[in-house]
Amino acid sequence: MSLLDYFRSKQKKGSASLAKERLQILVAHERAERNKPSYLRDLQNELLQVVRKYVQVDDQAISVQLEQEGNQEILELNITLPEQRS
């Protein structure tokens, strides 16, 4: 394979396919974010208030995720408690 062929074959692949791949992932992610029900943020805030009655946690301690699996919706709640001080 000559040097010219090498560059030709490189070009054939090009960067467009990479652009497409990245965009597909990004757009899917951003669409999912957009379609999240608006109550999720409120839920997260109120949960934070409740937890803080008992444990001091920071703003990032609670994550709320809604996922779709088939025709099932899964609400995933994650509360990270601070490390135990002894």
């Binding site: 990245r22 965009l23 951003e30």
Partner: protein
């Protein structure tokens, strides 16, 4: 009752104003009473692209503020009697367009026109929001390039949640993809997203593909909407876009690399 079409994109410099001028002229050439509104407050340019910049007396904001009547601000095109332009204001106050004011003008226009074409400013701020709010149809102008495609998708999100139709739970805004500045040679080389790629990512009805063309620059230099240049590919592609919008079933053209003859190669095509 007029149909209100927004020409939008999110990203700037992708060809919205070029498209608004071409589509407005194209619709009017077919005998539709058409008005094109420039929503780019502070950055008026549609007048220049349409060649009526020296005839601007009153503008959009003057009408909203009651400083002029709508008929005083509308400019009738010299080439096509069914085409009117409502120029943007050069005021620095971006919030000069109010929802009520814009709604009142669209309402008034819709009694006398068949099509109201709204040329949106770039961004997703107030001006772009005002331009899309009353839309029945949206032409999402996109370049085959990552940031433009992403911004188009964000604009789709806004159309489906923030438009008047969305807010009132009416039939959603009809959304169309218009791919502009398309370069078949670069697509063939794998350097540029293809029309198929963009369609696959955005999943939108394809209204047309406008090739990258020097005719566009020539047209804006002379203040003539490029659709009037029927010798150019871009002009023909825009004419097709108008036809498709009106329901004609036209094949997409200029998607492949044109094999140029010696004459074209020497003198440009």
């Amino acid at each position: 009752m007029a149909r209100t079409i927004v020409i939008t994109s999110g990203k700037g410099g992708v060809g919205k104003t070029t498209t608004a001028a071409a589509v407005g002229m194209g619709l009017a050439l077919r005998g539709n009473r058409t008005v094109v509104i420039d929503f780019d407050v502070g950055l008026r340019n549609l007048d220049l692209i349409m060649g009526c910049e020296r005839r601007v007396v009153y503008d959009f904001v003057n009408v909203i503020n009651g400083e002029a009547r709508l008929n005083q601000a509308l400019i009738r095109d010299k080439r096509c009697e069914d085409l009117y332009i409502l120029p943007a204001s050069q005021t620095k106050e971006k919030e000069a367009l109010t929802k009520e004011g814009v709604g009142q003008i669209i309402h008034e226009l819709s009694e006398h026109y068949d099509y109201i074409v709204c040329d949106s400013p770039a961004g997703i701020e107030h001006g772009a929001y005002m331009a899309m709010y009353y839309a029945d149809d949206a032409v999402v102008v996109t370049n085959p390039e990552v940031s433009s495609v992403r911004d188009s998708d964000r604009m789709l999100g806004i159309l489906s949640s923030k438009s008047k139709r969305a807010e009132n739970d009416e039939e959603p805004v009809r959304e169309f993809l218009l791919l502009t500045r398309y370069n078949p040679a670069r697509v063939e080389a794998g350097e540029m997203l293809s029309v198929g790629d963009v369609q696959e990512i955005l999943a939108l009805d394809l209204l047309g593909v406008i090739p990258e063309s020097t005719a566009v620059l020539n047209a804006s230099n002379s203040g003539i909407p490029v659709v009037l240049d029927q010798n150019s590919e871009a002009g023909q592609a825009y004419a097709d876009v108008v036809g498709r919008y009106l329901g004609e079933d036209l094949p997409h053209r200029f998607l492949e690399v044109q094999k140029k003859g010696l004459f074209d190669r020497l003198f440009g095509g």
